[in-house]
Structures are given as C-alpha cells and as structure tokens.
Amino acid sequence: MKKFFNLTPLGGFTPKSLSGLVVWLKSGTGLFQESTFATPSIANNDPIGGWQDQSGQGNHVVQTTASKRPSILTNAVNGWSGVNFDGVDDQLLSANFTGGTLLNETSFVVLNVTGTTEDSIMVSSNSANGVIINNPTANDLNLYNGQNGAYTDIITPGTNYIISILFNGASSNIILNGSLQSNVNPNSTPQPEENLEIGQIFASFPLAGYILEIIKYNRVLTLAERITVDNYLNGKFRVY
C-alpha cells in the first residue's frame, strides 16, 4: 500500500524553505537544448545541454558536447519529466560550487536506473568524492567518499527511488524511499566536494536511466528536515 503521509503540513514548503540550499535541479524546469540555455527542451527526446539550478546559487549543470547530452523524457513519473542518460557517454557538469567547496552536505536524488549490465554513476562530485554507484549485477547502492562504503543490495532496475544522502564523515548514510539504510558509511573523514557531475565519472560507469530531481544542501540536515524534503519529493512524484 502506498503511503502519502505528512502531506498536509507541507503547504508552501519548497527546498528553499530550508537554509543551505546550493543546488536544486527541478523536474521539468530550466531545461535547455544547449549549454548556453538558448532553446528550451520541451519535446520528448529533445537533448539537454543545460539544466538551470533553481536554488538561486547559479550552480547550473551543462554539457557542451552534443553527443554527451542526455535527453528529456516527458511524463516519466507522475506526469513529471526526467533527464534520460543513455548509458554510453551522457553527462552533465556544474562548475565549482558557488560559495566554495562542500564538506558536510545532504543531497536528494529522484531517479530510475534502467541499466542492467554495467555499473552506473548516478550523482558524483569532484571526480573522487560523494559518489553513488549502482552495480545492477548485484543491485547495489554505494556511497563513495574517498573510499567505498559498504554496499547495500537495495536497487531494482526500472524502479523509481527517492534517495537522500548525508555526507558528514562519521555517520554518512542513505535514506531510500523513506527507509534509513545501515552500514553505508564510507569514510570517517569528510571529503571535500567541488562540483556536481551527473551521469558518469572518470570517463567510466555511465548511467543508464533517468533523473527527475536533485537537491543539495551545504550542511547536514536534521532527520526531521530530511524527512520533510523526502515528503515534499514523494508528494510530487508519488514514488512510495
């Protein structure tokens, strides 16, 4: 049975309601065919060369090379659009974060991984830290923060997920569709994060699947705050 709890008190809540918002890549908003944000991506399968950050911080993600641009997948989840990565070479990148490097941070990703034969990078930063890896062979989800955390067998390809990720070094963890996962802490020392890379890393691990929304804060949110953002996303996408 699907649970849509705690929706009523969220009236008026947006990710901007909490302090420390540094990235808000919002479903169906700010999507353009070119990295110069010239032509809106509207039609299904239009390429996406730029996705404008709605946080107000200007941390837009772009792709200047045409072949590496993901495409828009209209009506992907509950009527909202996804950004579809081809599993070959698609990637979106931000410049270094406005306001400086992140050390402790909390991120939220709404996605559906469709790949079943290769490791996939979903969200990463600094080409070394804050990486989430899906290994569809074993359906693993992993935090990488300078070193691997324990894998958890929790991802099913073709399924929608809302993932909340907390990086603080000592007790980094994941909330997956409202459930706190254990044994995923990768490193006791927080690692610096300089930018956002979506779709692949190290010219490897290309993501096959689509991302609906990404939210990132430059601080460790409290559990109550994480649940509030989770509920905001679930009220929008009806994932669980």
Partner: protein
C-alpha cells in the same frame, strides 16, 4: 516531436579517433568537444583500443555522417536528401558491414526514442568492454 529523431551509436578504433573527432567538430558539433572519450578494450582494462559515442541527431546531421563514412570507405555516396526515411535506414543496413570491414568503425542507428536498447548488444557483438576505473 523532437527534431532529433535519430540516435547513432559509433564504436571507433583508437587510431581513427582524433581525425574523426576533428571532422565531427568541423561539421556536426561546431562548439563541441571530444565525442569519443569513453574507452573500450577487449579486457575492460587499459589501454583502450576503441572508443564509443552515442548521439541524438537531426536527419541532416545523420546524413552528413553517413556521407563522410561512405567517403572514407570508398563506397557510393548516399543521396540522403532525396531518400525516404526507410530508404535511409536500409542504406545503413546495407553498408554497415562494409564500413566496419574497411574502417573498423561499427555503427548502429535507431530511433531516438529514449531506449538505448542497442547499446549492450552492439558492445557484446564487438567483443569490447568498457574500460572501468576501479574505485578504491
């Protein structure tokens, strides 16, 4: 409906990578960078012997690439502008083996429908694996 109605998957030998990418940058993706930077090898380890790219393309862009491949492989240039969509698809089917044999370049064309169903089958057919960095 999007104007980018085609998707082209290209696997190219490392020896042709630079020249073909230069042609792409001069004719297709004028502001773009390196199309072929995803490394492949038979072992999945360095050194890369091939690279691949997957691009959503307009019909005219696809035609330019096919004419270039035909020129490089010394086969009859397709009259892309006067061909129907099915005729264009058939031309690719009829000539991809020659292109692969002469140039070592593997191509797979499909509709740009958001489903990259040909990706894994083409990789398997090539006997190549993505060169993956180990995260430790």
């Amino acid at each position: 409906m999007t104007n980018f109605t085609r998707r082209l998957l290209i696997l190219i030998p490392a020896s042709r990578r630079t020249a073909f990418n230069t042609w792409i940058n001069n004719n297709i993706d004028l502001t773009g960078g390196d199309w072929f930077y995803m490394p492949l090898s038979t072992t999945g380890s360095d050194p890369a012997t091939h690279y691949w790219a997957s691009a959503a393309l307009r019909e005219t862009q696809l035609g330019l690439i096919m004419r270039q491949l035909a020129t490089m492989a010394s086969i009859t240039l397709p009259d892309w502008q006067n061909m129907t969509r099915p005729q264009r698809e058939q031309w690719v089917v009829d000539n991809l083996v020659t292109i692969r044999t002469v140039l070592g370049i593997r191509i797979r064309m499909s509709d740009n429908n958001g489903r990259e169903e040909n990706r894994d089958s083409e990789l398997a057919a090539s006997g190549l694996l993505l060169v993956s960095t180990t995260l430790l």
